[in-house]
Symmetry: none
DNA sequence: ATGTACATTGAACTAAAGTTCAGGTGGAGC
DNA sequence: GCTCCACCTGAACTTTAGTTCAATGTACAT
């Protein structure tokens, strides 16, 4: 069936806009009588007629015998994120620069238990994390060997590589000019989370 | 009145989320009995109790004797993005880990004229851009010396440092083991944009 | 033990809102 | 003139859904 939304009567268009406006701004749609009252239609049946027309023309959908159960059928597609065009290679040709898909950066780090820190210093420079970079951290209290963790030791927060061997926990900076930290068994050390991502603004 | 939205019980939070989800995804809210059915509450009054609690705590507002007339009160602060907790230093203490502000990653690269590419290869490794990183590129056709640009040369797209001196354009990889590209005057070269950011998912 | 907050049931009641039927305009087109 | 259609009224009916009251159980703190 072809697009019929432009074949609306003036009245139908008005009513449709009213319904959409209510849902948008108030959070819930109008009742049949509410629509009638707004447009000076005294009988609920007068409105029913319009609603049926709107439903037939595909602009709304309703659930029978149910108050305010009007859904507005959205024709607009959700364009969240930035257009993702493909790969940039180290000299080799790029396939199709117009493959046009969207990459939702926000969604890349979805979920409740993430937070962001800004890195100061160069202790992770060999892991290609620079001074000023933002790191996205996933909250969790355990880590496996080699993972990069954000740990709190005696009220200091650091980003390091985590190693656990021979009953000893070692936190290594990714910078050969710095020394690893050996966590003493009695010290107040805690893993806050593991590295989930890096965001750099140039 | 103090902020009470965190003083919700588990159950109240669940119900609140359910209501919000319905409004968000279906376009109209649930009825009292619908909520009850979803949570295994057999009496509408069981739900009423929760709704009254939610209303008293300021998360929703309702209109009496009116079907599905639940409004979700939007907390004023825009909760977009991820919580930004501060800096993680190279060993030095962090100030206050609970300064709780939100960093909207999406908004970091705001504006229409941005797009995303994924980096393949190691030509920018000395700039701490790794294989697999996403780069955010701001569309523009000119660059100044030293800026990192995405350029298209004979249908190949590359990420390089841009230099223009003695009437000659030079594109240098940030990898000393690779050679710079000298753009020949007659060649089909074009700058697509300049580097605006880097996003890495670990 | 006693009070309070929370979560819930069950029954009864009331109001709101959807639906249907039987009409009644007024204009456009044949 | 006749018919179709969009638009509407009015009344009656049904269903849904909101509201209230009385009461129960549990957990927790005083």
């Amino acid at each position: 069936m072809a697009e019929e939304s432009d074949r609306l009567t003036q009245r139908q268009r008005e009513i449709f806009n009213y319904i959409r406006e209510k849902i948008e701004n108030r959070g819930y749609g109008p009742t049949v009588r509410e629509i009638g009252h707004n447009f000076g239609i005294k009988s609920p049946n007068g409105v029913m007629c319009h609603l049926k027309a709107l439903e037939k023309k595909g602009l709304i959908s309703r659930e029978g015998f149910s108050a305010r159960a009007i859904q507005v059928i959205q024709p607009k597609k959700n364009k969240k994120g930035l257009p993702f065009l493909g790969s940039v290679a180290a000299g080799s040709p790029i396939q199709a620069i117009a493959q046009e898909e969207n990459l939702d950066i926000e969604n890349l780090f979805h979920g409740e238990n993430h937070f962001v820190l800004q890195v100061r210093g160069f202790s992770m420079i060999e892991d290609h994390i620079q001074d000023g970079d933002f790191i996205v951290v996933k909250k969790q209290e355990n880590a496996i060997n080699g993972e990069r963790v954000v740990a709190m030791i005696d009220n200091e927060v650091t980003l390091k590589r985590f190693f656990h061997d021979r009953g000893q926990i070692r936190l290594e900076p990714c910078n050969t000019s710095m020394n690893p930290i050996i966590v003493q068994p009695g010290s107040d050390a805690k893993i806050l989370g593991i590295l989930a991502g890096v965001v750099r603004k140039c």
